[in-house]
């Protein structure tokens, strides 16, 4: 009987952890301005210099050299918040792209099954890397996760490429959608 209770408690704890990861909200806004909390920073995700700084190790090595435990601890906490915000923005931008793609696909008469399947696979592959990155940030912190961040970035790039290839196929019905050709900016 007690083992069943233990299993249930363990299950509940696990579920709570998963829910926390899945429905995570910003714990701290550096700007502390409630007006900006829900505003997505479109474009930040494509700024690779920014991601290199957030996930790189250069700043961390400098902080460690300063030899202050308080600064080290607070630095890791701040960078973790920023890294999680980066993942959230990446997901939000991809979700917006998919939503626009769905809207275009609904009105299109030129839908191709395999092209749509490719888009879906690219999207899920991107989401998989986002989840992986999210977990890695939570487990070991954001420092030196540049490789995983780059992989996530490359998945999103692939998604944008695929969606960009499909839009012209969709043709004239997407008149209202032409302005949304996915253009990635800030690539360095």
């Amino acid at each position: 009987m007690s083992s069943i209770v233990l299993y249930i408690a363990g299950g509940l704890l696990l579920a709570c952890c998963l829910l926390r990861i899945l429905f995570d909200r910003e714990s701290e806004d550096e700007l502390a301005n409630p007006l900006h909390r829900e505003e997505h920073s479109v474009g930040s995700f494509w700024d690779t210099q920014l991601s290199a700084q957030i996930f790189g190790s250069e700043d961390w090595e400098y902080v460690v050299a300063c030899r202050s435990k308080l600064i080290e601890r607070e630095f890791l906490r701040a960078r973790k918040t920023l890294a999680l915000a980066w993942v959230r923005i990446a997901k939000a931008e991809a979700a917006a792209l998919m939503s626009a793609h769905r809207a275009a696909a609904r009105t299109s008469v030129h839908l191709e099954f395999f092209a749509e399947l490719r888009t879906l696979l690219a999207y899920f592959s991107f989401l998989f890397f986002c989840t992986l990155l999210n977990l890695a940030i939570r487990i070991r912190g954001p420092v030196a996760l540049q490789v995983l961040a780059n992989l996530t970035d490359s998945r999103s790039e692939r998604l944008y490429e695929i969606v960009g290839q499909i839009f012209p196929i969709a043709g004239p019905l997407e008149d209202g959608f032409r302005g949304m050709q996915p253009v990635r900016k800030g690539r360095h």
Binding site: L31, H36, S41, S44, Q49, E58, Y62, S68, L70, E74
Partner: protein, 160 residues
């Protein structure tokens, strides 16, 4: 707002205005952080518009404002992409260049956080957050190095 017909000629004028402000003023300010503070000081806090009499006389008020806005954004992005060590060095040079007591300045930067108002309007939110976070750490690191705030080192880093 400019009409699309005006855009072409105006963008040339804005480029000229940017060159002008760069050659006459900004190139003489060697520390990018100082440049950022200077450009932010040309902006009205309420309207967000930039004013520079000399530049407005040589071009127009609108073009001068646009040129300053673009310069402000460029300098900000340069700083947002700077490593923490570089920001610490720049802040150190900036504080040394002030005619104020360095300890007092450091304390003011830690408590009042004036760096929050020097970011340009329209900058990406994540870039702003990274910049603000880095400057906070730069202030804390300088305070720790100087030991100016015994028992209070890094208090500006505490969650708000």
């Amino acid at each position: 707002m400019w009409s699309s017909a005006e855009m072409g000629s105006n963008s040339d004028s804005v480029s000229s205005a940017r060159r002008d402000i760069h050659d006459r003023t900004l190139s003489k300010i060697s520390v990018p952080l100082e440049r950022l503070v200077y450009l932010a000081s040309l902006r009205d806090y309420s309207s967000g518009r930039y004013y520079h009499d000399g530049l407005a006389m040589r071009f127009t008020e609108k073009i001068a404002a646009e040129a300053l806005k673009q310069e402000h954004m460029d300098v900000f992005l340069e700083l947002a992409h700077s490593p923490l060590q570089s920001l610490v060095e720049q802040l150190n040079r900036y504080l040394n260049s002030l005619q104020e007591d360095r300890t007092e300045s450091l304390r003011t930067w830690e408590n009042l956080e004036p760096y929050r108002v020097i970011v340009p309007l329209g900058a990406e939110r994540l870039a702003i957050r990274l910049f603000v976070s880095n400057i906070r750490f730069a202030v804390a690191i300088l305070a720790a190095q100087q030991q100016v705030l015994p028992g209070n080192i890094g208090s500006g880093l505490q969650p708000q």
